[in-house]
């Protein structure tokens, strides 16, 4: 077999190999995505919410509800996820975060503190369905949906 023919054959084989490699990689990537979507747990995204229970002197209707984001801030400031127009609430008063499929509440050094079921929150605490959170003059109920 002459050199030129050998080289030509090698070129064809090389091209096939290169694309076989890329094809296999693509196949694995697609398989990964399929297994990942099959195993993915229920998104905790909108699976919890806060419902206003009591709001003395604050223009918020009891029964109004806020869907929780994975990182939700509560406070008077307009940048908060849950805005409470209450002069007793700090600008950024408290935060609820979803980690490891649990919801955690912490107080962001607010002036008047955050109460969880009438106890002041220190550090980060885990929330259970039906917990009552009090920020300023507003009481919110934590509900799992």
């Amino acid at each position: 077999m002459s050199l030129e023919i050998t080289l030509f054959v090698i070129r064809i084989v090389v091209a096939v190999l290169l694309y076989a490699f890329l094809g296999t990689v693509l196949f694995y990537c697609v398989r990964d995505i399929h297994t990942a979507s099959a195993q993915a747990p229920e998104k905790p995204g909108a699976s919890a919410r806060l419902v206003i229970v009591e709001s003395e002197n604050v223009p918020l209707e009891p029964g109004l509800s806020f869907d929780l984001l994975p990182l939700t801030t509560i406070g008077r400031g307009q940048t908060c996820t849950v805005v409470l127009p209450d002069s007793f609430a700090s600008t950024e008063h408290a935060r609820i975060a979803c980690r490891k499929e649990q919801w955690w509440l912490d107080d962001l050094d607010s002036r008047n503190g955050t109460l969880l079921n009438d106890f002041p929150v220190t550090g980060t605490v885990v929330l259970a369905a039906g917990d009552l959170i009090r920020v300023g003059r507003v009481t919110l109920r934590f509900d799992l949906v």
Binding site: I10, R11, L17, L18, L22, T24, C29, G123
Partner: protein, 445 residues
């Protein structure tokens, strides 16, 4: 979890892909030997490549059983292709590249092995970056250029016959610094912005340390006239800031700044003016100052769909084809088919990197580091591939893993070593302190 079955699928996938990559690299090297009538003993780099692949596969199976199995074969395919191309394009360097591959492979294994590694990187970010800056500053005094030339930028440090380019390491340290800084401060950077006429800017006291450190790097790089790396740094900086804060304002401001600095560079630096002129219209000076880009275009055109054949084209007409213009050589000898293959491999690598970032989204340092590494590989390839194809003005950076160059290969493999670590969920659970205080499981009334 089905950890055991996952580990065995992982290893099997890596083996299958590595075997395909090995066949590809071996065949192109044999074809080169036949086409150029090289002696058979010149095939020894193949053995080195095989040894590296085997070492990394076995080492990683032992150290990080749950790592991403696709990264190693893709990187080894590109590195093997790079070794073949070095032998083809710059035979004088053909001994060095395999040796650098061994060094790089060992370095990536070391990164995968070191137990406190990533936490140390995170905690002492200022020290690391300053060390990198000092190393780069050393090139201002002791710098050399291995290929000689009186006016060539002296970007290398020489130790005997080994040359090293500190900007490659600085790039890596910069990515680590930014990931670490932004992981700690991104809440502040994205939550409490300063609004100046519809554009949100961060509060100065938090962005200042970042700008200061980045400014040091940029000043040094511009002082060295290493403008390719400087533009690379700038775009990586913008990209990471955007990924961390999700503020489009940064991107807009950054792009305007990039345009302005490009304009200033055009009037201040001859290099920039030359590159931009050659990009706008290279043909009037095709045999003069725009020789390189014109030769590159001719090489790509003559490659066509399937290329001239391995070792059968004439890519060596392009100056420094073995480092910056390696994509033009691939396009000439392997054709569009080869060029698309290279770009697809890189795209897969970046996709896997970003996937690691997405999987670690609850751990900001890991996530940002993976995203930063993928971004820097992607942007670097984009800059040089675009430059070679005359889509954008040429910036002299290397094509990751394929270009000849020890420092580039080494820093590439270190990045990959970090990606391996970040991709293994079983290690380093605690590198990342959470954004807020660690939740305690007890209920504290």
């Amino acid at each position: 979890m089905h950890t055991n079955s996952l580990v065995s699928t992982n290893n099997k996938r890596e083996r299958v892909l590595l075997i395909l990559a090995a066949l590809f690299v071996a065949l192109i090297r044999i074809a080169l030997t036949l086409a150029r009538h090289l002696p058979w003993y010149s095939l020894w780099p193949l053995l080195v490549w095989g040894a590296c692949a085997l070492l990394l596969h076995i080492g990683l199976t032992w150290l990080l059983p749950l790592r991403d199995p696709i990264i190693l074969p893709v990187v080894m395919l590109m590195a093997g292709w790079g070794i073949v191309l070095t032998a083809r394009l710059a035979p004088a360097f053909s001994t060095r590249q395999p040796i650098w591959l061994v060094v790089a492979a060992l370095a990536s294994l070391a990164i995968a092995r070191l137990s406190p590694g990533l936490r140390i990187l995170r905690r002492y970010r200022y020290s690391w970056l300053i060390a990198g800056i000092i190393l780069l500053a050393a090139t201002l005094i002791f710098g050399v250029n291995p290929s000689g030339g009186a006016n060539a930028p002296r970007l290398w440090l020489g130790f005997g016959f080994i040359y090293f380019q500190p900007s490659e390491i600085l790039k890596l340290l910069m990515v680590i610094f930014m990931a670490s800084y932004l992981a700690d401060k991104r809440d502040i950077l994205s939550v409490k912005p300063l609004r100046v006429w519809k554009i949100t800017l961060p509060t100065p006291q938090y962005i200042a340390p970042l700008l200061l450190m980045w400014g040091f790097c940029m000043i040094l790089l511009i002082w060295q006239r290493d403008l390719g790396t400087a533009s690379l740094f700038f775009i990586i900086f913008l990209g990471m800031l955007y990924v961390a804060t999700n503020q489009t304002g940064y991107l807009l401001v950054g792009l305007v700044l990039l345009m302005l600095s490009g304009l200033a560079g055009y009037f201040l630096f001859d290099v920039v003016r030359l590159r931009v002129d050659a990009w706008l219209n290279p043909w009037p000076e095709a045999s003069g100052r725009a020789f390189q880009i014109v030769q590159s275009l001719l090489a790509i055109a003559s490659g066509g769909l399937f290329g001239q054949g391995i070792g059968q084209g004439s890519p060596t007409y392009i100056p420094v084809v073995h480092s910056d213009f390696v994509l033009a050589a691939i396009a000439e000898e392997w054709g569009l088919m080869g060029a698309v293959g290279v770009i697809a491999s890189l795209a897969i690598l970046i996709f896997r990197g970003l996937r690691i970032a997405a999987k670690n989204v609850d751990q900001p340092f890991k996530s940002l580091l993976a995203a930063g590494i993928s971004l820097s590989l992607g942007i670097q390839s984009l800059l040089i591939a675009g430059g070679v194809l005359k889509l954008i003005p040429l910036t002299g950076v290397t094509f990751p893993f394929i270009s000849y160059g020890g420092s580039s290969l080494l820093s590439g493999f270190v990045m990959i070593g970090l990606l391996w670590r970040l991709s293994d969920p079983a290690t380093n659970r605690r590198i990342d302190q959470p954004i807020f205080s660690e939740p305690s499981l007890e209920f504290t009334p």
